[in-house]
């Protein structure tokens, strides 16, 4: 309403200034908090004391112009800095015609264009003439990997988001011709290389490896020129150019640094170290997300959880000292068992529903349905006032079933369930009909039909509501300890964090000593002494009174569910049982052992880790060395392992620099496919190039060959620039072997934690739940999740620790009431349900002489697979009983309803 009546147009900054909104507005539909706010800079009332229209039109009376800014003093134990990233300066973009030519867009603007709720409703149109473009070019590395604008680092995310945006655009407009101009294709994230392959093969997106220097306009078309690796010049005309802008440090980084008294790095991001990536230079001030360095959503979310873990460590003593417990009145069982007395509340949702659907007609129709004793319409059912009034009306009319005819249960059902609970009704007794999304929104053009459909939905919801039954909300006590499997950098970090937060940890390591792959590392990627990092960590783990370490031990079996796991661990032929509440998987990975390239045949061929070990011992072995050849992507991104191992590029560059330092006159050649020195590691790559390390690109169909000679070896490879094969007599050949998954198969079966096609553990959701496994109470970190650097492993371990301590800290796990329930009288013990259950939530147990299935309620996710496969229909789902669903379906035809 306020947005509708406001006379003051302002540019919509959320839609990248491509659209116009009003002074009072909400940035986007899913904004949190989901309420409108007033742009004080534009508001006439705030600036000129005129207007006041919105305050008068707001039916909820929610606009109060008398509010003043307040200063708050909070005393806290830890501060987390998560200001995100800043924008690349427009001056940098002007070089590429941005601002001069209307059809040169930033990737942010393009993202809004492709969005269905964006300014063009998802249609890709040129700003200059509103026509559909045919040819689009994406230019990468705008404001990143560019020293001329001061941003020497790689922004890490642009390659992938450009590919995503291009794929989305192709999905929408299959005839589009899209080219992306890369320097290197840096899709090193988990599963990203697959997405890139799909984009190239399925969507036919052209990948061109060239950097376009400038954008020129010719008669409304945009002209680009570029030079490819073979030295050829090319040019082409495009209808639209998208600049893939990088991530900069926040604009107010200096201010943050002053206020929080922390150090920044040379690019104005927060300075952290490899072994403590989330800790700023000041004690108690933590950092997460892009302020620590450019990163994508999964990594930001991971870091955020990790920062929470460190904050919990600092605040371990204060835990639960300021919590507020909500109490609910006793359930009115007698009322629940009475004949259904249904109340229907039809929501206007302001104009959201009422603008299309005739709400009053739907309300009156609801009154004609059997069992309905109260029918009302409300302006905003979800507002505080309305909830209160709904609660009162339920009490007054002694309702025992409630139908809310409004929006999506996904977002609002918990709210109404809470209302029922607060007045002593079981939360399972509410049913929702989504007449906003399913009627008002999708049938906005046909209000009459939308109203009819709304009536249908209400009738069906009422039919189901009549059969709703109260559900128990059981809680289970939690064993307050954790089992951490694997004692590498990730496992030890996770164990330390959980222990520091005050819980017992059993750390199981299958090797003889602690450390995992960190033991083999000589230097961290930022040049620190890896053994020192390792020593510190091991010392802390061994000294910690909350950590019990079991080396040379193996997990044999795991049973139970979140809060109550029991594991059998074998150590030296003996087995022992351990009870614990949660599991952290940190089983690590291993160095890929290369096949071919003469590895094993000649002592001159080695892996990067082996080179590091030699370098650490001294530079004697380089006495006669003239040429050192490094080959990237051995094992990775190929036939053996399809994934990118993420850190070998940086590792190779780091070792190349070490070689140059030990013996400056040695020639170092690096054969690579894409140099993926993302983030600040780009500095190392630039330094290596400056120091004369030679980087030569090869393609997967023309791999370099290592040829054994009578004395020594040589490497033959195709050089694109020369257009011919080159041969390099090599004193040493160093293979950048990737990271292979550990032996996860067996553990995956024991825990029922799924693996990716590459053999790493699969997280529950790449972005939203990056350190959780689909099985409740099991968490994931380190190389077990996928290749990553030490820094990332440590951050992820902290994140896993944060998530793992949630059930431990709560002390009880609440079990969702929507679980399956076996009627053991009907059960024939066939075991189909047990074999199908993806969550290990059904067991067969002996009841008398026969086997019967039983649901482990704490593990059940309510997916319904068991119920749908049970041959004797012995399994029913809480809240979705067969009868209720059938009644709902029958009610679809009005006659069906009468039959009831």
């Amino acid at each position: 309403m306020c947005t509708m009546y406001c006379p003051r147009p302002v540019v919509d900054t959320y839609n990248e200034r491509l659209d116009i909104t009003r002074a009072p507005h909400i940035d986007y539909a899913q904004a949190i908090p989901s309420s409108y706010y007033i742009d004080a800079k534009a508001c006439l009332r705030v600036n000129y004391e005129t207007c006041n229209l919105c305050a008068q039109t707001c039916t909820a009376g929610a606009i109060d112009f008398t509010q003043q800014p307040k200063e708050l003093d909070l005393s806290v134990g830890a501060v987390v800095l998560a200001p995100g990233f800043g924008r690349v300066d427009e001056k940098v973009l002007e070089k590429f015609g941005y601002g001069r030519y209307p059809d040169v867009l930033t990737s942010f603007e393009f993202e809004r264009l492709t969005c269905a709720s964006g300014p063009s409703e998802g249609h890709i149109v040129r700003p200059s003439d509103n026509k559909r473009p045919k040819k689009i070019a994406f230019l990468q590395c705008i404001g990143s990997r560019d020293e001329t604008c001061g941003n020497g680092y790689c922004s890490s995310v642009c390659c992938m988001y450009a590919i995503k945006e291009a794929s989305v655009a192709k999905e929408h407009e299959p005839d589009l011709d899209i080219s992306i101009f890369f320097m290197d294709v840096r899709t090193m994230g988990k599963g990203f290389d697959d997405a890139r392959k799909r984009a190239q093969e399925k969507y036919g997106i052209n990948v061109i490896r060239a950097r376009v220097p400038r954008v020129d306009q010719v008669d409304g078309k945009l002209a680009l020129t570029w030079t490819t690796g073979d030295g050829e010049h090319h040019s082409g005309l495009f209808d639209m150019v998208v600049l893939s802008v990088g991530l900069e440090s926040p604009e107010d980084a200096d201010l943050i640094s002053r206020v929080a008294d922390i150090e920044l790095n040379h690019y104005n991001f927060c300075r952290t170290s490899v072994d403590a990536p989330l800790v700023s230079s000041r004690n108690g001030v933590l950092v997460a997300g892009a302020f620590q360095g450019p990163k994508d959503i999964p990594e930001s979310v991971t870091q955020a959880s990790g920062a929470a873990a460190i904050a919990s460590e600092l605040l371990a003593e204060a835990r639960n000292s300021q919590t507020v417990t909500v109490t609910y009145p006793e359930e009115d069982k007698a009322l629940e068992e009475e004949e259904p007395r249904i109340g229907v509340f039809v929501c206007h949702c302001g104009v959201n529903i009422a603008g299309v659907v005739d709400v009053k007609a739907v309300r009156d129709y609801a009154g004609t349905l059997p069992g309905v004793v109260l029918y009302e319409d409300t302006l905003y059912s979800c507002s505080q006032d309305a909830l209160k009034s709904i609660a009162e009306k339920i009490k007054e009319n002694r309702l025992n079933r409630v139908v809310i005819s409004a929006c999506s249960p996904r977002t609002h059902e918990p709210l109404f369930q809470e209302t029922l609970r607060s007045i002593g009704l079981n939360p399972a007794l509410v049913e929702m009909a989504n007449i906003r999304d399913q009627c008002a929104w999708v049938h906005a053009q046909e209000p009459e039909k939308a109203t009819e459909k709304a009536k249908d939905l209400v009738r069906m919801a009422v039919a189901k509501a009549r059969l709703l039954a109260p559900l128990e909300q059981p809680t289970v006590d939690v064993t307050p300890s954790a089992l951490v499997i694997g004692a590498g950098a990730a496992g030890m970090s996770a164990a330390l964090s959980i222990a520091d937060q005050g819980y017992k940890v059993v750390l199981v390591e299958k090797g003889r000593s602690l450390g995992g792959n960190l033991k083999r590392l000589t230097w961290t990627l930022d040049g620190q002494d890896a053994s020192k990092v390792l020593k510190d960590m091991v010392k802390k783990v061994k000294a910690h009174r909350n950590i019990e370490v079991l080396t040379s031990a193996q997990v044999e079996s795991v049973s139970g569910y979140v809060g109550n796991f029991t594991s059998t661990i074998s150590k030296g032929g003996k087995t022992q049982m351990i009870n614990h509440g949660v599991i952290v998987l940190a089983t690590g990975g291993r160095e890929y052992k290369p096949k071919g390239y003469g590895y094993g045949d000649s002592t001159r061929v080695m892996t990067q880790l082996e080179l590091e070990e030699k370098l650490a011992r001294g530079k004697g072995f380089l006495r006669n060395a003239k040429n050192v050849v490094m080959i990237q992507c051995v094992g990775s991104r190929g036939d053996d392992m399809t994934h990118c191992s993420r850190l070998c590029c940086t590792q190779a560059v780091k070792n190349a620099l070490k070689l140059k330092e030990a013996k400056p006159e040695v020639n170092v050649f690096v054969f690579y496919r894409d140099m993926r020195t993302y983030g600040f590691y780009e500095d190392l790559y630039r330094e290596a190039r400056k120091k004369g390390v030679k980087f030569i690109r090869y393609t997967s169909d023309r791999k370099p060959e290592v040829i054994k000679l009578s004395r020594g070896i040589k490497v033959r490879a195709y050089d694109e620039l020369i257009g011919d094969d080159i041969e390099i007599p090599a004193s040493l050949v160093v293979l950048s072997t990737g990271i292979a998954p550990g032996d996860n198969q067996e553990l995956s079966k024991i825990i029922k934690a799924p693996l990716t096609s590459d053999g790493f553990f699969l997280e529950a959701h790449a972005k939203l739940r990056p350190v959780e496994v689909a099985v409740d109470g099991v968490y994931l970190c380190g190389l077990a999740h996928g290749p990553k650097s030490l820094e990332e492993s440590v951050a992820q371990a902290k994140a896993a620790a944060a998530k793992a301590t949630i059930p431990l800290a709560k002390g009880k796990v609440a079990v969702a009431p929507i679980v399956s329930k076996v009627n053991q009288d009907l059960c024939i013990g066939c075991g189909i349900c047990e074999s199908l259950c993806p969550f290990n939530a059904i067991t067969l147990e002996k009841v008398g002489k026969r086997k019967k299935a039983r649901t482990i309620t704490a593990s059940c996710k309510g997916c319904g697979i068991c119920a749908s496969h049970c041959p004797t229909i012995a399994i029913s789902m809480g809240g979705f009983t067969d009868e209720a669903i059938m009644a709902q379906i029958h009610a679809f035809s009005p006659e069906g309803c009468e039959e009831e």
Binding site: R214, D216, Q217, V218, D219, K221, A223, T225, S235, G236, L237
Partner: protein, 121 residues
């Protein structure tokens, strides 16, 4: 021989002529000769283009004060003036030869020049 002949300095026109023709931005019968610098262009060469069948000839060089070779495009513009004079003496329309200037790497002025000359031919 094409009807429109253009001489371009190396630092203008960044898009290939064929691509421009494909998009219909320039006349089909345009021929562009790329020179390291328009300063090397001599009057006989301009006239030669006419004897070989061109109906209009144009030269595109850098902006006079920003010429890559300092005075190259200035020299070219002087020579175009001589060529105009000769055309006049031959009783031909002096506007059939023209000098244009373009910024570094810019394609648009070249396209405009080609169109202008096509309209004069």
């Amino acid at each position: 021989m094409s009807k429109i002949k253009g001489f371009c300095c190396n630092y203008t026109l960044s898009v290939e002529v064929d691509a421009l023709k494909e998009e219909g931005l320039v006349p089909e019968d345009l021929e562009i000769e790329r020179l390291p610098c328009t300063g090397r262009l001599e009057v006989p060469e301009i006239l030669d283009a006419f004897t070989q069948g061109a109906e209009a000839v144009f030269v595109v060089g850098c902006q006079v004060d920003k010429c890559h070779n300092l005075s190259g495009s200035y020299r070219a513009s002087k020579r175009v003036k001589y060529a105009k004079k000769i055309l006049e003496e031959l009783d031909m329309n002096p506007d059939l030869v023209e000098m244009f200037f373009a910024g570094r790497g810019e394609t648009e002025p070249v396209v405009e020049a080609a169109r202008t000359m096509a309209s004069r031919a």
